[in-house]
């Protein structure tokens, strides 16, 4: 896929300076010119309030406020661009419960640590250039949690048909999927 990361503004929220620096160096090698680093929740919120960020990398385990809280802050934002920001969660923990927690908070992609240049590239492309339709409902805000199109057993389909939705989803841009409910 031909993607250009050059003009992206990325925020890395990571309290481990070595990992933050590594991700920054990798993104810069991929020609991302504008990379901000925050070491905690408060710094991240401050940067997000005045910088038009296009993608954020968030560490799961930060002190005193963890990455999930930052995802919730972003998804609940009044500003529509901010609330639909592509979010990549970096984590050592890849057990089922943690993944479900992140998914339900509205994460776009999960980047398992240890990270590599290839995984950073792939997750960035997936989150920014191939976003899943964005769900904005009363109970959930975030990319569609269903990655596979499998039939629902005995449950009504609440989404507009995929063919209708395909036209609403534009790669590289925030897309929105509307619920029928």
């Amino acid at each position: 896929m031909n993607v250009d990361l050059k003009y992206m503004k990325v925020l890395i929220v990571e309290d481990d300076e070595h990992v933050a620096n590594m991700i920054k160096v990798v993104l810069m090698a991929f020609c991302v010119e504008n990379v901000h680093v925050a070491c905690c929740y408060d710094d991240a919120v401050d940067i997000l309030s005045h910088e038009p960020i296009d993608c954020v990398f968030v560490d799961y385990m930060m002190s005193p406020v963890g990455g999930i809280k930052l995802i919730e802050y972003i998804r609940r934002a009044q500003d529509q661009k901010l609330s639909q920001l592509p979010i990549i969660l970096c984590t050592v923990y890849t057990d089922f419960d943690k993944i479900v927690e992140a998914r339900d908070a509205g994460v776009s992609e999960i980047l398992a640590k240890p990270v590599t240049p290839m995984t950073i590239f792939n997750k960035t492309v997936a989150a920014v250039f191939k976003p899943r339709p964005f769900i904005n409902s009363l109970t959930f805000r975030g990319p569609d949690r269903r990655r596979r199109n499998i039939p629902l057993k005995g449950k009504p389909e609440r989404r507009i048909s995929d063919s209708a939705l395909a036209s609403q989803s534009t790669p590289g841009m925030q897309s929105q999927r509307v619920l029928n409910a």
């Binding site: 896929m1 990798v26 991929f30 970096c90 050592v92 950073i120 590239f121």
Partner: protein, 132 residues
């Protein structure tokens, strides 16, 4: 290993990124040694929570900088420290894992070497044999 779906330009950028990480990795061993020293000190002081955070940090960092077997060892170290609160303290197991990590560093066991895998397998056996 570049993804075959990547364009030639992207493969070039990936190679550039990997070279940059390799350069960063060259300075990582002293950092890791420092983290191990801090972890041992926290355990000695009875600060299990701090030690747990350091084990988690090493787990996330080491593989990123080319030491995946250290990440594996740190994963088991994290498990044993976490289990300590509700079980007989297994300080021998913890010390052995830290010593094993030191051995990996001393012998330059970067990547997935057979020696590194063997050391991790020994750790797993030891952890499994540790009463909880």
């Amino acid at each position: 290993m570049p993804d075959m779906n990547m364009t030639f330009e992207q493969q070039q950028m990936l190679a550039k990124a990997e070279a940059a990480v390799e350069k960063l990795s060259a300075g990582y061993v002293p950092i890791l040694l420092g983290e191990l020293d801090k972890l041992s000190a926290e355990l000695e002081a009875g600060n299990d929570e701090e030690a747990l955070i350091l084990a988690h940090t090493i787990q996330g960092q080491a593989g990123t900088f080319g030491w995946p077997m250290v990440t594996e060892a740190a994963h088991h170290l994290h498990q044993v420290i976490e289990a300590q609160a509700n079980s007989p303290i297994s300080s021998y197991t913890i010390k052995s894992i830290i010593d094993t990590i030191h051995m990996m560093l001393k012998n330059g066991l970067k990547g997935h070497t057979p020696q590194g895998k063997k050391l991790v397998a020994d750790i797993v056996s030891m952890v499994n044999a540790t009463p909880t």
